[in-house]
């Protein structure tokens, strides 16, 4: 029994990603979409915190590729260990986990 969490806000603008990570459990997945994809980038003031939460918690971190491309974020800027998916991958994640929780 595991959860797919979606985050669609920039972590520099709101606390949604931080709250999501604080409530995700081992085996869960966190998918960053829309403005949330900025949370997947390396070299920011928040990168270490996000990477640590992901590593320490056994949480799979995903980012929506189409939203990355729209914002000019190329694969080279993605944090280590974050997996890029397309809309089909988003659907697979939602199907694979037992529930979806949107951190709106």
């Amino acid at each position: 029994m595991s959860t797919l969490h979606t985050v669609n806000k920039s972590p520099f603008a709101t606390g949604s990603l931080r709250s999501c990570l604080a409530h995700a459990r081992s085996g869960d997945a966190v998918l960053m979409i829309e403005d949330g994809v900025y949370g997947a980038t390396a070299g920011t003031g928040l990168s270490d915190e996000i990477a640590a939460a992901a590593r320490g918690g056994g949480i799979g971190i995903y980012v929506l590729g189409p939203d990355m491309a729209a914002r000019g974020l190329d694969a080279g800027r993605v944090l280590d260990g974050v997996i890029t998916v397309d809309y089909a991958g988003f659907v697979d994640l939602a199907a694979k986990h037992d529930r979806a929780v949107a951190w709106l």
């Binding site: 595991s2 949604s16 604080a22 409530h23 459990r25 037992d98 529930r99 929780v101 709106l104």
Partner: protein
């Protein structure tokens, strides 16, 4: 769990009045109560502000919907989980929240509090136990 009873959680993370999400979440809860599902409400982050006492919206000209929370017991909505860490970060204690009671039909209709203060870890477990999570 019977096949046609699902666990529904209403996840409230936003303050009241600045936006309509809190009010329209309550409207779903009231309608949803007729469906005989297993219903809980969760209040975390700024959502805990929805439950504060003494809300008076007269001067902003917006409807005060906070009394509706006290009526939830009549709709058999009796579990309002409030996250302790969210309260603390906002300088709130459980005493700052409305008293919301329900009558427990399994315990000779004893009056009991609907608000249950839980830790962040417990909130994570509550979320993980649901079938359907509606976010507001």
């Amino acid at each position: 769990m019977s096949d046609d009873v699902k666990k529904f959680l209403y996840l409230n993370r936003k303050a009241p009045y600045g936006t309509i999400y809190a009010l329209e979440a309550l409207e779903v809860v009231l309608i949803g109560a007729a469906f005989d599902q297993d219903v809980s409400l969760a209040f975390l982050d700024d959502g805990v502000f929805q439950l504060t006492r003494g809300q008076d919206t007269k001067e902003i000209g917006v409807k005060n919907f906070s009394p509706t929370f006290r009526a939830l017991g009549d709709y058999e909505v009796t579990r309002l989980y409030v996250e302790r860490e969210s309260l603390e970060e906002r300088g709130l204690s459980p005493d700052d929240l409305q008293e919301i009671m329900y009558e427990d039909e399994d315990d000779d209709w004893a009056e009991k509090p609907s608000i249950r203060i839980v830790s962040r870890a417990e909130m994570a477990d509550i979320i993980a136990a649901q079938d359907v999570v509606l976010s507001f």
